[in-house]
């Protein structure tokens, strides 16, 4: 692909990580680590979360098993004919904070978005051994190049708020919250 000719070095030195995470991998990731994620993930944003948690409250089964998975906060633009997906960058994560602890209890291992998480979410992540990553905000066209397959698996009527399954290759991300309780945004702010 032609864009690779101008790809900055930042994307060439990523630590390759397979998702869902193999046993023991999350423990080796630290706040600030730049990773390239390859494998499969699920997506969801505001209404996706509301609907998942509504199902849980009704005691019903979720359309996907989130145990061990990574959940990417994204509402992509529609794919043009011949495209895998449209623009597909991260949405702001704090809006998912009210729902996240419930999903972590199901064994969700990582979330991916942009921006800060709440204190309760950070505590829930520590309790359940989960991490939070961010990817490049406002770079949805670039990030779409790392998505090799996309299919809607639930809530199709939600349009951009459907739950997708993506296959990704070297999807760039940075670890924000690690298992030691560190926060990369706080580290960056303290370094000023």
């Amino acid at each position: 692909m032609s864009f690779l000719k101008v790809m900055p070095a930042a994307l060439e030195n990523l630590r390759e990580i397979t998702i869902p995470f193999a046993e023991g991998v999350i423990e080796t990731l630290s706040a600030g680590d730049m990773v390239g994620l390859s494998g499969s993930l699920y997506t969801g944003r505001d209404q996706t979360h509301r609907r998942l948690c509504a199902l849980l409250e009704e005691g019903r089964e979720l359309p996907v098993d989130l145990a061990g998975q990574l959940l990417y906060y994204v509402g992509p633009t529609p794919a043009r004919p011949g495209q895998v997906i449209g623009s597909a960058g991260p949405t702001t994560s704090y809006r998912m904070d009210p729902y996240t602890p419930q999903l972590l209890e199901l064994g969700l291992k990582a979330t991916l978005g942009k921006g800060k998480r709440s204190r309760p979410v950070r505590e829930a992540m520590l309790k359940h051994g989960a991490i939070y990553l961010a990817t490049i905000a406002g770079a949805g066209a670039l990030l779409s190049k790392s998505i090799t397959r996309a299919e809607v698996v639930a809530f199709e009527d939600g349009g951009p708020e459907a739950l997708f399954r993506f296959e990704v290759e070297r999807f760039p991300a940075v670890v924000i919250n690690d298992l030691a309780g560190r926060d990369f945004y706080e580290i960056c702010a303290a370094a000023r």
Partner: protein, 291 residues
């Protein structure tokens, strides 16, 4: 007098919606290049490089720069020597509907209570205005809401003074941190009333990057706030460096003696904005439809 038919407005808005989503304006690209060139943090410089690569891919492949193709905001000013043959607001709404469908843009507008998506990205937020002249001017901004959500308005007491205004603007940006996708364009409305301040803040976002307010004291305030944001702010994407904001645009309007409203409208680095002027054709004074 001149006359313009509404299909021309619809077609123009349709084009603007698609172009705005996929092609960043030259002033924003230049602003990102300048930010990259003066950036001292290696990570922030890499991130700015990636944003430029993203803009390049988006333009070449006509794929939206950002998946949040926004809630559509249009300021439409109709010359007082121009007759619009039909409903200008409906023409704009139809242009948005067509552009979002044909441009493969994300439909992000929903009922605020039920959260049910309208499926068309309409209604757009349309502000109709008038001016002296015989043309029709459209300012268009698809507003992403990661940044819109970080915006704030406060009714300050006059005793807060300029210092209070500056503190409120800076606090708003610092509290937002990485959430609104910095480097930002910070739109500020000072004065007027509750709604006027918000409108001034939104309107200020259309000012070309690098231009300052014509009033010297306001321009100096813009520069001083920008310097402070970039010195104390969280930097590119909240990950450090010296580029928390690309610009601070302030608009002012006289306020009540008891009041000092300040609105801060936060805009992300994917600052998509378009401007078009449509000329009408000569009108003889006789409505053709009555022919």
């Amino acid at each position: 007098m001149k006359i313009i038919e509404t299909p021309q407005i619809t077609e123009t808005v349709r084009e603007m919606a698609i172009e705005a989503a996929c092609d960043l304006e030259p002033d924003i690209l230049e602003g990102l290049v300048q930010a990259r060139d003066r950036e001292t943090s290696p990570l922030a410089r890499d991130l700015l490089d990636l944003l430029l690569v993203n803009a390049d891919i988006a333009s070449r492949e006509q794929m939206p720069v950002c998946q949040d193709t926004g809630v559509s905001v249009a300021f439409v000013s109709i010359g007082r020597e121009l007759i619009v043959d039909g409903d200008p607001e409906a023409a704009v709404q139809e242009g948005i509907r067509q552009g979002y469908e044909e441009g493969y843009l994300r439909k992000s507008v929903c009922d605020p209570l039920t959260r049910k998506n309208t499926g068309t990205n309409t209604p757009a937020v349309v502000h109709l205005e008038s001016h002296s002249g015989d043309d029709l001017r459209i300012l268009y901004l698809p507003k992403g809401c990661g940044s819109e959500n970080m915006s704030r308005l406060r009714m300050l007491p006059p005793s807060a003074g300029i210092e209070g205004v500056v503190d409120f603007i800076c606090e708003t940006v610092f509290a937002a941190g990485p959430n609104p996708c910095p480097p930002l364009v910070v739109g500020v409305g000072i004065g007027g009333t509750f709604e006027k301040a918000a409108l001034l803040a939104k309107r200020s976002l259309f000012r070309p990057l690098g231009e300052h307010h014509h009033r010297r004291d306001v321009a100096e305030l813009e520069s001083a706030i920008l310097t402070r944001l970039n010195r104390e702010g969280q930097g590119v994407e909240g990950m450090g460096g010296s580029n928390t904001a690309l610009a601070v645009n302030i608009e002012v309007f006289p306020s009540h003696i008891a009041s000092l409203p300040v609105a801060v409208n936060i805009q992300c680095h994917a600052h998509r904005h378009k401007e078009r002027t449509l000329a009408g054709r000569d009108w003889s004074g006789q409505s053709e439809s009555q022919g």
